[in-house]
Symmetry: C2
Subunit: 361 residues, 2 copies
């Protein structure tokens, strides 16, 4: 068995954090690392990545180029990710050469909706009913076991509603599976929730845990539109939500920031929808409303530093700026804390930035 590199001591100021993925999450992670006096090296599979603009060191290569991954590992004191879909053999290759946080185990479980849901269920946490689907026939059979509505989702590589289809009949379920062109899937029972919330939390290398206040999240066209803190969750439910995140973080032996997306039932029940093993769009408000943002918190955990202060000192509403909405940047700049991601093309559905409006508590 190959050896896995561990951090023997914190990465000191002046050290280099490697970030795989150069989108807006990588960019905001790099900005947070810079604040702490840490250097960054960004690895992205295409040039002109938004995060390349904010660092001196970057590498462009396919995510499974082992030669380039070796070069990258040698340039870094610790490595992390802005997304969870790196191939397992690439993660293993990196982990033999440089401390990688979160680790391969946590990524392997959360990369795959089936293993993730199974993991959540085994922890005794509530989740939507789900069934493995590996053929059109299995899709029909699974649908028959639901209460009339479901969502077929590819097991891997889904985000912002991609690789998902609502289905209301066995025929639709079979047709949706075929449209995924053979990709392994799961069929989830439709959950008639009251609203969505999420817990953005961090676990340190020492097992320490810190969770931000859970925001309430609104989606439009499967894309996050708005996160609001405080949410409608009362104090007891907030603690329950944080405890769910802590249980998940510990079971994954997780190091870094992660998010647990929750459905809040009409009866107040909290169902785990998804685990994101990374900083999360619903945590962007922490940049303004907390002393330590989710991005800084993740870098602290990855670098072996003490976790920062997650106390929320202001109420906040974060809204995404999507596609052509960014054309209004000049008027948006008058109304809140504006973040733009350095993306040159404003395609439909593309997250171009976000704006956070805070109000002292």
């Amino acid at each position: 068995m190959s050896s896995i590199k561990q951090l023997s001591r914190p990465v000191p100021p002046g050290g280099t954090i490697g970030i795989i993925g150069g989108g807006q999450l990588g960019r905001m992670l790099a900005l947070a690392a810079s604040r702490l006096g840490l250097k960054t090296c960004i690895y992205n599979d295409t040039p002109d990545a938004p995060a390349f603009q904010v660092t001196q060191q970057s590498l462009t290569a396919p995510y499974d180029n082992l030669v380039k991954l070796t070069t990258f590992a040698q340039a870094c004191d610790a490595v992390t990710f802005e997304f969870e879909n790196l191939p397992a053999h690439a993660i293993a290759h990196l982990a033999e050469r440089v401390p990688v946080r979160p680790g391969a185990h946590a990524l392997a479980i959360t990369q795959d909706r089936l293993s993730e849901k199974t993991f959540v269920e085994k922890l005794g946490l509530k989740t939507a009913p789900f069934f493995e689907v590996s053929s059109a026939q299995r899709a029909r059979e699974a649908f028959a076991r639901l209460n009339g509505r479901g969502i077929l989702k590819t097991r891997r590589f889904g985000y912002d509603g991609k690789g998902q289809a609502k289905v209301a009949s066995a025929d639709e379920a079979a047709k949706a599976f075929d449209s995924f062109k053979g990709a392994p899937a799961i069929l989830e029972g439709f959950v008639d929730f009251e609203y969505e919330a999420s817990v953005v939390a961090a676990r340190g290398g020492d097992g320490g845990f810190a969770a931000y206040d859970p925001p309430e999240n609104e989606h439009e066209n499967h894309i996050l539109r708005r996160s609001t803190v405080p949410s409608r969750l009362g104090a007891a439910k907030v603690e329950e939500a944080k405890a769910i995140a802590q249980q998940i973080g510990e079971a994954l032996e997780y190091v870094g920031v992660f998010a647990v997306e929750l459905f809040v039932g009409k009866d107040g029940a909290l169902l785990v929808n998804e685990i994101a093993p990374r900083v999360h769009n619903s945590g962007h408000w922490t940049i303004e409303a907390c002393a330590c943002s989710q991005f800084e918190q993740h870098i602290r955990a990855v670098a072996g530093w003490p976790l920062g202060n997650v106390v929320r000192h202001a109420d906040a509403v974060m809204e995404n700026i999507i596609g052509a909405e960014v054309d209004a940047w000049e008027s948006l700049a008058k109304t809140g804390a504006l973040h733009l991601y350095g993306k040159m093309q404003a395609r439909t559905g593309r997250k171009m930035g976000h704006i956070t409006r805070i109000r002292a508590k």
Copy 2:
């Protein structure tokens, strides 16, 4: 007369802001520009500048290398400075090629303590008594006109107490002048103030003005130790301080962020000590305690964007981390919002970082 480039429209997201000087101020300006989706190009006279770590584009050349300044101007949509001491002919060279903010006029006045003090006096604002000193003999004569104590300061290139000497006799004044090796100087009368404060303010290209709450500043060994908001200034004096800054900003036709350092007399009188035509160490707390930091505000003004919100949503204490104090980074990281500047060598008196502790109001 050569033409001066003006901004005909705001620099759009994706545009490039040039920053002369790659120290911690340049670094924090670059981080703020990145947040707004603007690219940066840093010009510094030595390699390994702290700000180089946080941008994709940088240039190393002497500050009066007109060929490199031309290249720099061509790469940028607008140019600004982290410090005020660029040679006048270099500024003029830049200003013919790219919009430069603040402009040559404001820089020329504030580069020179004599012209700055004369300017302040002509505005009818209070300041310490001052005399031009161009020889040891003039130093003696000037000292005779003071009330027994003074400070001899070089007219240019002073910071953090460099190029300054307290003098308590005509002999000491003459000796101090000789120690400056012929550099033109001014002798200022000693002011027996109660405490120091500062106004960090911004003026937009449209003449709009916005001032942050004035912090109270404590120095040690001529270096800022601590800035605290709110200060001991009452509401009326806060308004008076902001009005002084506005008067100065308008008279300079200033565009960008600047600071006015004030002595607060035992009788509450506000004396102008110094004008800094740039973001200022006493404004670092705005990163945590305001929706728009002084760094973002400066970038907004330079880029022709609307000024941001300067309302302070929390009380704050900012402390500099100086020299070997940075060795305690790991314990400091537990106690507040830590900023480290990416400087590799912790020389005595060198500003290595700062820490801000906020408390909801």
